[in-house]
Symmetry: C2
Subunit: 408 residues, 2 copies
Amino acid sequence: MSDNCQDLDCLAGVRVVDFTQFEAGPSCTEALAWLGAEVVKIENPKTGDPARRVLPGKAPDDPWYFHMFNANKKSLAIDLKSPRGVHLVKEMLKKADVTVENMAPGTIERLGLGYDEVKKLNPRIIYCSIQGFGAGSKFEKGLAFDMIAQAAGGMISVTGEPDRPPVKPGPSIGDTGTGMLMAITILGSLIERQRTGQGRRLQVAMQDAMLHYMRTCFAVQARTGKAAARRGGKTVMGANAPSGLYQCTPYGPNDWIYVMTSRANPEHWARLMKLFGREELIDDPRYATGAARIEHEAEVDAIVTEWTRKHTKEEAMTLISGVGVPAGAVFDTMELQNDPSFEKRGIMQVMEHPSGPFKMPAWPVRVDGKPPRVKPSPLLGQHGAEVLNAWLGLGADEVAGLKREGVL
Amino acid sequence: MSDNCQDLDCLAGVRVVDFTQFEAGPSCTEALAWLGAEVVKIENPKTGDPARRVLPGKAPDDPWYFHMFNANKKSLAIDLKSPRGVHLVKEMLKKADVTVENMAPGTIERLGLGYDEVKKLNPRIIYCSIQGFGAGSKFEKGLAFDMIAQAAGGMISVTGEPDRPPVKPGPSIGDTGTGMLMAITILGSLIERQRTGQGRRLQVAMQDAMLHYMRTCFAVQARTGKAAARRGGKTVMGANAPSGLYQCTPYGPNDWIYVMTSRANPEHWARLMKLFGREELIDDPRYATGAARIEHEAEVDAIVTEWTRKHTKEEAMTLISGVGVPAGAVFDTMELQNDPSFEKRGIMQVMEHPSGPFKMPAWPVRVDGKPPRVKPSPLLGQHGAEVLNAWLGLGADEVAGLKREGVL
């Protein structure tokens, strides 16, 4: 085992009954698992979490998406349409600290596992629902996936080139962004419960969660009185020059670097011009102040581009960053995957899974120097016997009987 | 006071000494404040957090960005370049549960407040650093802002139109996205500390944090063997039709709707065609299966567009969502700001601030039905006397003396 990570048990003893699927819910419970909670995924014995196959019907399996959001969890495959299955899960909920679901609106209630039911079974439980739209919204029954939340939550409106159609931000902030806010609130509620002994009902809507990540855009709107606009490679905040994406050699799709000079630090411009060998421009009245550079932004951008186009993005980042100006090459997923620094530092780790080893991003926060260890995502139903024994005292015979009856 | 929110004290008694500025750090400590922690911002008495003025030098003030990330906090303005100032902050650190900083690399150590120093003063403290790049990375001394993290962490590479330059996702995921991961780890460490009595050192790099939100893109790469590509309004996952942004009347910059049909639910296509009055296309061999629709994606998109262009995005969302197909209008920040549903549900709240009321997104997770109340962001140094008295027992005379000496 690699020593770039560690087994963390911050949340030792915290039991999570996890009804989630796809990403918004699973990213939340996975964060708890990485911090040491015991997270038991409740899955349909026939298909499991639909995220186990992103391309259903295609062989071979494509387990990578599932691995990403279900590392370090256990799986109990149990039929929630059978009364015995529901009964067993209710017994588990009596012993759980947290339960999380992100089913379509009304589904968990139809299974007899809605908040009102579960609270009666266990008033100490933190009961969590993630929906697309908030209770009380006119779209409250609407289904959502990541892109729907990003559209309805404002993200797409501010992403893309001016005067062209909007585009979807590539990352799945609609899903994982929402899951993180629920994880924070769960942990806060667990701390509170140590004092009060009482559980809580937590609810978050993916559309609402997007506003949290859009606050700079709302601040721009407050200043300008207009909806925040798309600005291509520039930032919605605007009003810094140079600041933006600049092309690098050899001019491939991702041969770009983000360079930013801050008005809070007037030295950035001088440092950049010294690096470029253009000292004469530092005090040139066209460029000497932040306001002047904004006025001559096209010229300023041309000055930066003339230099960046002679360098690869890595060279440019090393040089610009090296003189104390914020710079970031536009790395693609393959470049990030193959950069040994991430694995060396435990930020990417190899999941040792029966279906084969899989290198993936780990929880990126270091605790006393090391991130938590990535453990395998569970096979469907892998931990059924173990969990039913540890949580409910069921013996091997009882488990075998449940399997024969098709409950497991 | 509005009854759409509540005072939450999940984290009552948790004391945070907050050295953060701009957004990545402040978004983290603000989450703790919303859950009831006492967060004391340590600010330079002359200028305060530079985020207090996004456009420095311009009058009037532009406090909106600062409000967003500093609600519910206290402010202690104290000179960390004076020995007396550092001494007082060290006394506070002895009584704190958590401290967070996101200064440029090396700065907090130069102030004499690095981890090794503070751990000696208080072995129970959770000491947190947010940097642009990870310790051990070749860019570890590099400065970063939101856009630099989004470039170097892969986000920009997957955002934009195919065959065009990349664009920056508009939301500030580089900042707030990082802050949320730190907040989760802080809360997990607080829970752990109740058992161990020991503090922790937590470190996160903004570049590393981006990988966490990029995991669907890495999963796509694992499937295809190629770097995840830009797909405009489509998703990086690909391979669903119809799925994407469709234009609506009256064809303004944000008159678009995201419509998604899932292969996990073949009913979506049939529901959509019934709504469009195009039942004849449901079983048309060109469109009857997910695979067939992907093969004829341009035609499928044209069928959807023909209908959406006759409707406003709100109408289209109501109708499509109403038949059980995931749909999200591309709302802009002004539309979201003016939609009364958010304020009614406490997802947006009005901060009552001395500089004027300000409506802003609140913490979007409801706890027993209501989100936590947004309280004012602090005036610079507003809570100096209060905090120094409550934490360190300093009297009014001592505080007055410190002010005269320029320490406060």
